[in-house]
Structures are given as structure tokens and as C-alpha cells.
Symmetry: D2
Subunit: 278 residues, 4 copies
């Protein structure tokens, strides 16, 4: 179900005009969240990131976080189980083929029974030939529907769990919906924010979890060859937390011991961090 203009609707009740500017010209800013035990995970982080994306389009969100959180709680009660949440912000203003001047926005919040699909037997990833869009063309932190790099990379996925994209200079960036970590000699390595990546919220939690466990973490520029030289590879994303990887394309298989250890500690850890549950 979803809430739009203050009303709760079922999906089949919700239609928009074929002339919707976000359809014709883009600009739909979004965030995806989930609950654990019906409590919203990292809501404040996602809300702040939504504000940053909106700001990129010169839109100031006038709703406060308390209100936002109340709406979602209301939805969770209606759905009556753990949910995934998609917030969408549709800019309004003078938007056409010739200009993009925003004045206001509509906010739509989708809620859906959380449905974590069964894990594949082997988690494979591959490397995309599509480079991430450079920050000078579009900021990496702008979470907007229809980023063409992500779309084109997703087309290369095949039977892989996710495809990893390189940046404009060939550095490792991130998956189409996940952040990337590798393990080499018990050190955990992940691309730094200045590599041109989305500042993932699960990524941040996993970095902090590692530190709390005494595991060394390096956030830095990562070369693709390091993926081949790593002992382990794992992904992180909101809906699933930590995902240890079995194979890189056909050329490398990984151990999963550090990854599995982090999986075993993840839920307890995020539960213990107050900022995740504001």
C-alpha cells in the first residue's frame, strides 16, 4: 500500500498522468528502507540522505522527521508485519524539455510486506563494463530514479547477484544496489567515499561493526585487480545486511569466513546502536 496526498491507497488505486514530469524528464528522488521487528531501521539516516538528494534539485523538504516516522509507523500497523519502504519525492514546478525549475514536490511512500528472496546457492558477482557516472556529471550521493549507469549495468547482470561498477578512472566503486567490501589478510577494505560512491548506511554500520570487533578497516581507492587478489568479497545493502560472495565472474572463488562472522554479528550490532532507531 502507499500514502499519497495524505491518503492511504492500495497500489491498484494509484495512477498518475502519462504527462507526469518525472516520467518524461526524470527527477524522482527516492530512498529505500526496511523494518526489523516492525521498527524502522536507520530512518533518520535515510531521511537526511533524502533531504540531500532533494537539495540537489533545489527542493527543501518541509516535513519534519517526526512526522515522517509517524506515517511509516501508521503504515506498518496497517500492513501488520515487517515491511520494505520506498519513499519517492516527485518535483513540481516548471519542468519541461526546455527547463527544470522546481517549486514544490509530492511525497509518496510505498509500504510492502518485507520479502527477502531466497538466497542463491552460490552468490556470484561480475564486473560491469559500464562506468559509474562521474561526480562532475551527477553527484554520487544523488539517489534518483533512472540513473542511466545503474540501469545499463543492471542489464549485464545475468545470473549474478549484483554487478560491480568501476568509476571514471577505473577505480572500484559499488554494485548497482550494494556496497563492496573485500578482505585481504584479515584486513577489511572498502572504496572510500571519494571514490565516487553512494554513502551506504549499511556500509557505515558494517565499518563500525568491524571496528567494534577489532578488525582493521581501510577506506581507500581500490583497484579492480585487488578483487582478484582478495581472500573474501562481500556486499552490503539495506534489505539484506551483509552478503558474502562466492565467486567473481568465472575467475575467482572466495572464502567466506570473515563475511559469515560479520553476518552472525550484524543484527545484534545494529540493534545496539541508538542512532539506527531514532
Amino acid at each position: 500500500m502507499l500514502i499519497w496526498k495524505g491518503r492511504w491507497l492500495e497500489k491498484h488505486e494509484a495512477y498518475i498522468s502519462l504527462e507526469e514530469p518525472c516520467l518524461l524528464y526524470g527527477g524522482l528522488v527516492y530512498e529505500t528502507l526496511r523494518t526489523y521487528n516492525r521498527k524502522l531501521f536507520a530512518g533518520k539516516y535515510h531521511f537526511d540522505r533524502l533531504k540531500a538528494s532533494a537539495g540537489c534539485l533545489h527542493i527543501k523538504i518541509d516535513m519534519d522527521y517526526e512526522n515522517f516516522r509517524k506515517i511509516i509507523s501508521e503504515g506498518v500497523e496497517k500492513v501488520n508485519c515487517d515491511v520494505s519502504v520506498r519513499i519517492m519525492l516527485l518535483p513540481r514546478g516548471n519542468i519541461s524539455a526546455f527547463g527544470f525549475e522546481t517549486k514544490s514536490y509530492e511525497l509518496i511512500i510505498f509500504l510492502e510486506k518485507l520479502n527477502i528472496s531466497k538466497f542463491p546457492e552460490k552468490v556470484k558477482v561480475s564486473l560491469s563494463k559500464v562506468r559509474k557516472i562521474d561526480d562532475l556529471a551527477t553527484p554520487a550521493y544523488l539517489k534518483i530514479a533512472g540513473r542511466t549507469d545503474i540501469l545499463l549495468a543492471k542489464m549485464e547482470k545475468g545470473d549474478a547477484y549484483d554487478v560491480i561498477m568501476l568509476g571514471s578512472k577505473g577505480q572500484v566503486c559499488e554494485g548497482t544496489f550494494s556496497n563492496v567490501f573485500l578482505v585481504k589478510n584479515n584486513t577489511v577494505v572498502t572504496p572510500s567515499l571519494d571514490s565516487g560512491i553512494l554513502p551506504g548506511i549499511t556500509r557505515k554500520n558494517v565499518i563500525d561493526l568491524c571496528k567494534s570487533l577489532g578488525i582493521t578497516v581501510e577506506e581507500r581507492w581500490v583497484e579492480p585487480i585487488e578483487l582478484c587478489d582478495a581472500d573474501e568479497l562481500f556486499l552490503t545493502h539495506t534489505s539484506r545486511g551483509v552478503v558474502p560472495v562466492d565467486e567473481l565472474s568465472s575467475c575467482k572463488t572466495y572464502s567466506k569466513s570473515v563475511g559469515r562472522f560479520l553476518v552472525s554479528k550484524f543484527e545484534e550490532y545494529i540493534g545496539s546502536i541508538e542512532e539506527n532507531w531514532l
Copy 2:
């Protein structure tokens, strides 16, 4: 009005689901055309370019050009005046946050009374700080709704007619909806296709027109400083043909003599080229 699933509809009759994949994940491929004297201009060129964009998303258009043209003729008769045409191709398949596998598509054609807005007294252009997305991240020829570089550049437009975008290495590329030409010592210069630009159809016609008039044309890498050093600057785009420019930001004013000369010859020229009216 528009045609969708074989039916002519008025705009207010056309709605799509809020879960439309093109809205949530992008992928809407399009072309914009116009008629002159109720005859479709450069229809075959645009149709071929649409096929190229669709191919980029692994979609093969099964409609042939004859059929496409017949539909538009039918629409022109209904609207009963010159029209602008927007063709939109919406991919269908396994499209989600986690993958983009296309299997088929829906085609929607919008027709609208041609409405060339009044010319501004002074045509100003400015330079965008937003770089064009590099070809390795998204091919320049892919005409797709929601390219974030164009969206962000359009936000900087202010009272300019269009903003000119530079490429990933700082070369001059194109406007958000136009191609760019400069004139220096009676030579016409325009960014080459390998500068990372959309192969504009009006651009092609203007290059050919210049050659037919004995004007030297250089298609090459253009540095931004050349815009300041040029005698003239003009833009080209489908709905208006040739648009001589008066000013670049606040730092340069231009003569418009070659540009006006080309304006005076443009309609007759395109009318005389058979390929434009197939």
C-alpha cells in the same frame, strides 16, 4: 492527443500505474519530431535513432517505418495542423531495483499542436558547470528520459535559451536540447561526434546546408575558450531549426550574420532534401 495500445486518447484519459517501471527505475526511450506543412520532418532519421536507443536496452522494435509513419499521418489529420510529436518507448520485462531485463515494450506517440514559443528579444546561452556523462557510463546517442546530466544542467538555465555542457575532459559538447555551432573567420565549427554528443538531425542538415553554400565546416574537438573567441554562435534543434545567439553569459556578444543567413536558407534547404521526407 496520443496513441497507446492502438487507441487514440486525449491526454486527460491517459494514466499509468504509480508502479510503472520507467517511473521507478528509468528506461523510457524517446524521440521528438515535428511536421512542416503537415509533413513529418526527418521521420526516418528519428525512427532509426529510436531503434538505436532501444537497441541499447536490448529492445528490437518490431513496427516498421511505414506503419509508424501512417500512425503519425493519421494523428496529424485528427489534430488538423502542424504538430510536434513525442514518441515514447516503455520497456517491459523483469525490471526492478535488482535487475533490468527487457522482453518487450509499449509504444506511445504524443501529438500536440506545434507551438513554437515567441523568440526572446535576446538569445542568451550560458555554460553549465555540469559535465556531460561520459560515453563509458552512458552512450551519448542514447536518448532516454531522466539523463541526470541534462536534468541538472537544465536547473542552471535561468533566463538563458539553453545551457551548453562540456564533456568529461572539458571539451564543448552540446546544449540540453540543442547542438552548438560557432563561426570564426567565416568558418563554421561544431563539435565532432566523438566529442560525446547526440548526433542531431538538424545538426546534420545544417552542416550539409553550409557545404551546399560553399561555407567551410569543421567538425572537431572544440575548447570552451573558442566560444569566447568566436564571431558568432548559433544553436540547432528540431523544433526551431537554426537559432543565432546574441550573448554568452555576460562575457561575450556575437554578430549574427552567418546565423541569420542560414536561418533564411534553412526551410528551403531541408525541403529540397529527399531523405528528410521519406
Copy 3:
């Protein structure tokens, strides 16, 4: 004259083998300094920068600054006038077509009567088509003989005082031997260090001078179009301090009022800063 292996020589006495590795394979690191009133200007800054360049080639300079300064003072006494100084560090080790492993170095210091060539009547600059080498290929701070970007840009100079180079993404960087400043609405703007420039010592002094005079200074990414839109342009380099510019290529002339004001204040200012005379 010059000092090499502890001996003062006249230039015509100093020869090296045709098999000198720095000639065949590069690697000669250098700094250029000058005296004012026989006192070495910014000697410590240049010495530290030399150490940074040498470090880039895995060479640790074992001479201390005091010793370095004593040698130059000795030379100044011999030459008995203001001098320009060129320090050259020639790596030694296993250097061949197949490897570059440094173990030690030779240090050569050239001193020459300071000879500031007469100012041209009009100071012109132009923009180079040669891009600066990106930091990932060679750090901008590495001051090394035979940087090919500088060499190729110098070939385009013609009657210009210096040519300005853009960076790998088209941002304004610096001249082949100078840093670049522009003035717009009484604000002084200069490319930030992260634009990929050498951290010029005169540049630093001029920034500090402006601040001491209450002039706003912005260190940031600068687009080439801003050179056309500026009120003034000036260069800075060691041998001459501040150089107001009259013309950019054939397309722009500048006022020189802020530049001249800074020229009038420069020598007194640098004289007053203790760090310049350590």
C-alpha cells in the same frame, strides 16, 4: 657558476656522461629560487618542496637545510649580486630502460646573476590545448625535468608570456611556469590545490598578501569560461612575483588595477614575513 660534489665550477667546466641516467630515462628533480638583496627568498619552502619531489622517487635528502643555505650564501658571495638558483637532484641507483630503483643522488646547485628580462609591452597569455597530466599518472607537486605536458605546452607559446593549461577534466590549472589568478568584482580567485596544480610559493604569498589587505580570495575549481568573464588576470612566479596580464589570446583584454596594486605591495609584504627568510 655551480657547485657539484663539493666543488665550485664555472659552467664551461661541468660535463656529464652521455649515459647520464637522467638524460636517458628522466628523473632529474629540481627547484628554482632567487634572492632579494642577496637574501634567499623562501629557501625553506623550496627545500621542503624539493624533499617532497625527491620522496616521490624514494630518495631521502640527507643534507639539512642549514647546510643547504650556507652553500647558497657562499655562492652569492662569489657571484656578488642577486642570483637565480637552480637546484638539481640527480638520482643514482639501478636505473635503466627496464627499471628505476634509486639508492642515492647527486646534488648540483647552479647560481647565475639574476636577470629579469625586460617586461613585454603587453603581457599576453593564451590557453594551451595540452592538458596537464592527471595526478594519477604523475603527482602535480612533483617538480621534475622533462614533464612532457609542460614541454608540449611551452611549444604553443608564440609571443605569449605564458600559456595556461587545463586539467584532465577541463578545469583551469596553471601556466607552464606560473600560477594563475583572476579578479571578478574585486574578489580574487585562483585554482585550488585539488585542481591539480603545483603549490606555488609565490602563489601562497600572494594569497596571504590579499588577505592581509582585506581582499576576498577564493581557492576553488575554476572553469575556463571564467577567464573570459574576469575583470583581471594575473600570474605569479618566483622570479617576478606578480605579473598583471593585458590580454587573453585575441579574445579578451583586462584591467590591471588590482594586479598593479598587488605588485606595489608585494616586495614589502614578502619582506615582512619571517618564514620567507629562514
Copy 4:
């Protein structure tokens, strides 16, 4: 020994001034050749490439190829064995810290007993973190002493035979003195010229050799991950022809069957191609 200004000298007789412009400012253009059975291999190709490099510095070589070849034959007779040849062209003109205007040149030819060092037991290569200089900063085909990218990459070599450099967008380019080939499913793949590589002469011969043997060759953009996924890797360079590789860093070992097969065919093949012996 070497020939300089028309005179044959022993190396210990050849000295240049410490003020040699090529030492202070770079600009020494060169080629490296070798003989097989006292006959110069691919002399015409190297001579033409030398002319291209010189042209880049606005120098026209006035010596003709016949003369060039005669000098080398003379040298080979003196040395009386197979030799490696290093041709060096030193620009002359107005060359200083402030400009690089060439007017003429000196040509020096070194000859040395060919000394192919013993093969290492295992041929290892690694990937450099130093990116190749982009073509816009320095053309890849300009063979000039002191290219800083090559110098810095050579510093990372350790016990590797050569280090492979990536280009400005992360594509595989070449080694510091070799070209790179990989074999995957019996197809030979090598970076295309537009990847930003030196057009190696041995590279060309090996491509032609493969074709003559019915082996498919792809010249194209190569991603670094493909090095990990390849069945074989081999290098090519003038002094040694084809060099099959055993290991990539610590992360991949290769079969050498196609490489060894090409080694076994190489000398006979190049001997049979007339253009190599002009």
C-alpha cells in the same frame, strides 16, 4: 660505442654540458632497435616512428632512411656482433624554462653488444597504480625520455619482469617497455591503439603472425579483470620478441602454451616479412 656529429666515439669519450637542454627541460626523443644476424630489424618502422615523435616537437629529420641505415651497418661492422641500437634526437633551438622552440637537432646513435639477460625462472608481471598519461596531455606514440608515468611505474617493479599500466579510464594499456597480450579460449586479445598505447613494432609482427597461423586476434579495449580471467598472458618487446608470463602479482598463474608456440614461430616469421628488413 656511439656516433655523434659524424664521429665514432667510445662511450667514455662522450660528454655533454650540464646545461644540456634535454637534461634540464626534457625533449630527448629516442628509439631502441636491435639486429638479428647483424641485420637491422624493422629499421624503417622505427625510423618512421622516430620521425613521428620528432614531428610532435616540430622537428623535421633531414637525414634519409638509407643514410641512417648505412651508419648503423657501419657500426655493426665495427662492433662485429649483434647489437642493440639506441637512437637519440636532441632538439636544439630556444629552449629554456620559459619556452621550447625547436630549430634543429643533434642525432646520436649508440650501439652496444646485444645482451639479452638470462630469463628469470618465473616471469611475473604486476599492475601499476600509476596511470598512463592521457593522450590529451601527451600523445601515447611520443617516445621521449623521461615520461614521468613510465618512470614512476618502473619504480614499482620489484621482482616483476614488467609492470602493466592502466589508462586514464582504467583500461589496460601496456608495460613500461612492452605490449600486453592475453589469450582466452584460444583467442588472442590485445589493447587497441585507441586504448592509448605505443604502436609497438613487435606487437604488430605478433598480431600478423597470429593471423598467419589462423589464430583469432582481437584488438580492443581491455578491462583489468580480463587479466585475471585469461588463460595466458604474454608480453612483446623489441629486444626479446614474445615473452610468455607465468604469474600476475600473487593472484593468478597462467598456462604458456599459445605463448610458447608463438615464441617458436617468431624468428622465422619476422625473417620472412620483407618490410622488416628494408
